[in-house]
Symmetry: C2
Subunit: 160 residues, 2 copies
């Protein structure tokens, strides 16, 4: 039941909103899970790794600085360091000192990394299409985009 309640009074959700939230949570869980599993079993890549490769592949010189990667993917710097370290060990990415900023490190996609990405992309895109895009009415899909974009904007630069 709503109203004056706790620390500061809590905006309880009505039944419809609760339903949306539950569907959202369930759908997201199952979707991310499946996409991740597909990439892992078929290409030995996690979704996080795959997303990094995508960003790198689109960037000029196929390279991006660590902090920018972190910001773009909303991952912690530490996570990016660990992940890039793994990718480097596997010859998918290389790391080098940034010339303009002595602290900076730039990650670049290797040629091998690029071909790995090319192959993985088929799997991933098929997944996104089959599990999400094909399930949804196009107008609903657009709504999903709007909502989540606005969520991201509302939350960006928080992280404490």
């Amino acid at each position: 039941m709503p109203s004056t309640d706790a620390p500061t009074d809590t905006p309880w959700l009505d039944a419809a909103q609760q339903g949306v939230w539950r569907s959202f949570l369930g759908g997201v869980t199952v979707l991310m899970d499946q996409l991740d599993r597909d990439l892992r079993t078929q290409h030995d890549l996690s979704m996080a790794e795959y997303e990094i490769l995508v960003r790198l592949s689109e960037a000029p010189d196929r390279s991006i600085r660590m902090a920018e990667l972190a910001a773009a993917l909303a991952h912690s710097r530490s996570r990016i360091t660990h992940t890039i370290a793994r990718l480097e060990r596997d010859g998918i990415v290389e790391r080098f000192q940034c010339s303009s900023d002595g602290r900076g490190v730039t990650a670049r996609l290797t040629d091998h990394g690029f071909t790995v990405l090319e192959r993985a992309a088929h799997t991933h895109v098929r997944g996104v299409h089959d599990y999400l895009v094909a399930q949804a009415d196009p107008a609903d899909l657009a709504a999903v985009g709007r909502v989540l974009e606005s969520v991201r904007r509302g939350l960006e630069g928080r992280h404490f």
Copy 2:
């Protein structure tokens, strides 16, 4: 570019669909992250733990069998075992043998667990409201519910 390409030909996404997918991914990442962090810092609970408590609290006798929990949350059995073990150690949940099925184990929310949940709910619900519900046009929100519900149904009982 589309068409005859790979293993079996891949249904590439157009620009709008890609945009939706990117917003989706970014929004989900940042949203889940923030909700999780809120619960962790203020109540020492992960979202996964919180979700378990919610389900238990709604069930008759505040108890559910492990496998049902796993199915309801789309988590692996193993994950449920570990998580419940932690919650049991903290006195939030208790575990006992199921009478009807010799293999079965039932988890029940303790009284203490219930009060923990009551407090955490304020934080969580406020988060869902502020970060998601308040950001979105109600019609768009309904669309989100429809889409993700259909995603879940399309994918349920996969897990291999």
